[in-house]
């Protein structure tokens, strides 16, 4: 029984951050139709930036975000303007190839600078535990959960109640009509992509404490994000957060209850099972 609670709690906590990762990807898809296959490698980049800042200034990852978030947001804007935008409107597969190429460049760039050995970035909260009955929770997981949910709610409010958020939704629903309103569609696309990458810098810091990092781990995050986005229905806010929780829980159950490769495969098995019965994802109503 305690194992069950443990798996559930751990999965929920990490799942919220997975949901946040996927919201970024869903927003970008919604306004530009771009699926970014280097998504996970930008998370790696964020984590290795934290590592570099720790090595140089002994900076805690939670503090590093002051630098990594603006920096990665700017990188995101530049990547969109100079690499992705020239491809948008051409073949969908060309954009996919481009982002896959970007993934290799990021991975190998990180490998060149940091080497291939697994590295850790310590944080002051890393080994703090919170014990609730039989369930042991790690403080970094709780921080990740709370911050991810707070950000998701913030994003939701931004989308509903600000002009920028309404512009994003307008571009998603009808880009031509959005342009007729005087919305600069190109600008909304750049800013959304930049915002998506900036969120990854934050998520990187949230996922980092206690996690050994390697240059080639980006693909795993990309795949997890894709699972969540597809489960959630690409642009459905609530669906995506729910998908994040489900994938997080599946992963926790897999590693706690099942040994070896089957355990690691559990999220994918659950994903396939859900998609068999709900080919359009989890969402009940249409995408908002």
């Amino acid at each position: 029984m305690s194992e069950l609670y443990q798996a559930l709690a751990q999965g929920l906590l990490i799942g919220a951050t997975y949901g946040l990762l996927a919201l970024g990807m869903g927003l970008v898809y919604g306004v530009s139709g771009v699926v970014n296959f280097s998504h996970g490698d930008f998370i790696s980049l964020g984590m290795f930036m934290c590592l570099a800042l720790y090595s140089a200034f002994a900076m805690d990852p939670y503090v590093s975000i002051i630098i990594t978030v603006p920096l990665m947001t700017a990188i995101g804007a530049l990547v969109y303007i100079f690499l992705i935008r020239p491809m948008v409107g051409h073949q969908f597969l060309m954009v996919v190839q481009l982002t896959l190429g970007l993934s290799l460049v990021l991975q190998n760039g990180i490998l060149m600078v940091f080497g291939g050995e697994p590295a850790r970035t310590p944080s002051f909260v890393e080994s703090k535990l919170i014990i609730l009955g039989d369930t042991v929770l790690r403080l970094p997981h709780i921080i990740a959960f709370v911050v991810s949910f707070a950000l998701a709610i913030g994003l939701y409010i931004m989308l509903r109640a600000t002009d920028f958020g309404r512009s994003i939704r307008a571009v998603h629903q009808n880009a031509h009509a959005a342009a007729l309103m005087g919305i600069n569609v190109g600008r909304v696309q750049v800013l959304t992509f930049a915002l998506g990458i900036g969120i990854l810098a934050l998520a990187a810091a949230l996922l980092l404490p206690g996690t050994p990092i390697q240059p080639n781990m980006g693909l795993r995050y990309t795949v997890i994000t894709l699972l969540v986005v597809v489960l959630g229905g690409m642009t459905n806010f609530v669906g995506i957060m729910l998908g994040g929780l489900i994938i997080g829980i599946a992963e926790a159950f897999g590693t706690i209850y099942l040994d070896g490769p089957i355990g690691l495969l559990l999220p994918y098995i659950i994903f396939v099972a859900i998609m068999l019965f709900r080919p359009k994802g989890l969402t009940w109503s249409s995408a908002r």
């Binding site: 002009d163 309404r166 512009s167 939704r169 307008a170 629903q173 009808n174 031509h176 009509a177 959005a178 342009a179 007729l180 309103m181 005087g182 919305i183 600069n184 249409s286 995408a287 908002r288």
Partner: protein, 234 residues
């Protein structure tokens, strides 16, 4: 107010519009007529900046605007109510109206402007939180016009506002158009419906395969044999 000077425009370098010349004076209501595929929407989109000119100029209030972005033109008050209405279906009426006034020029006056639009279309005011996608075609047309007015239009360009509406709604929408005209708004009315347009517009242009086939006041255009041939495709 608006002057189109030898405009050639099209898609991918292939001209659809060939050497269009036309004028709209301030306060005027001008009809743009033509059969299917004559190029009416292409012309209105050229004025909005959605279609780039190949050659020729567009002057608005004496200034050449043919190189300006669509945003810049909306800010100047050149506002289009598109064919098929194109409301944002998953947003509420209120959000659609707010988006109508999102341009830098109109943004500051949105509350007052919203009052005016609701005064004109009480039906929209009664259901501000309802999603636009759930409205009937006629209500969506009201919303599309309201959204255009939110932008503080100086020149309002309506692309086939009667399309797909019941006769009752068509009549209602054209009463609104007359009212806006009476209040001093300059209007470009794009229509396929010949008789309807001739009744409401003082002056008309008839497009045929991307060229102006006939022009003049409603009576002249009505009796011009080229108008008939443009419609029958002779």
């Amino acid at each position: 107010m608006l002057e189109i000077d030898n405009l050639v425009a099209g898609y991918g370098g292939v001209p659809v519009l060939r050497e269009i010349n036309a004028k709209i004076a301030a306060g005027e209501i001008v009809g743009l007529l033509g059969a299917n595929n004559a190029g009416k929407t292409t012309l209105i989109n050229s004025l909005s900046g959605m279609v780039k000119p190949i050659s020729g100029r567009i002057l608005f209030l004496g200034e050449d605007i043919s190189k300006l972005t669509p945003q810049a033109r909306v800010e100047l008050g050149i506002v289009q109510v598109p064919e098929g209405r194109l409301v944002f279906p998953e947003m509420s009426i209120r959000e659609n109206l707010l988006l109508g006034g999102i341009n830098a020029h109109a943004r500051k006056h949105r509350p007052q402007q919203m009052e005016k639009v609701i005064g004109l279309f009480p039906r929209l005011g009664e259901r501000l939180t309802q999603s636009a996608g759930s409205l009937s075609g006629g209500e969506q047309q009201m919303l599309a016009i309201g959204r255009g007015l939110m932008a503080e239009a100086k020149l309002l360009m309506l692309d086939e506002p009667s399309l797909g509406l019941s006769p009752l709604f068509v009549q209602y929408i054209f009463e609104i158009i007359d009212k806006l005209h009476a209040d001093g708004l300059t209007i470009l009315l794009v229509e396929q419906n010949l008789n309807l347009t001739l009744r409401h517009a003082r002056r008309c242009y008839v497009l045929e395969r991307g060229q102006v086939a006939a022009e003049g006041d409603a009576e002249t255009v009505k009796n011009d044999p080229r108008t008939r041939s443009a419609y029958l495709g002779l």
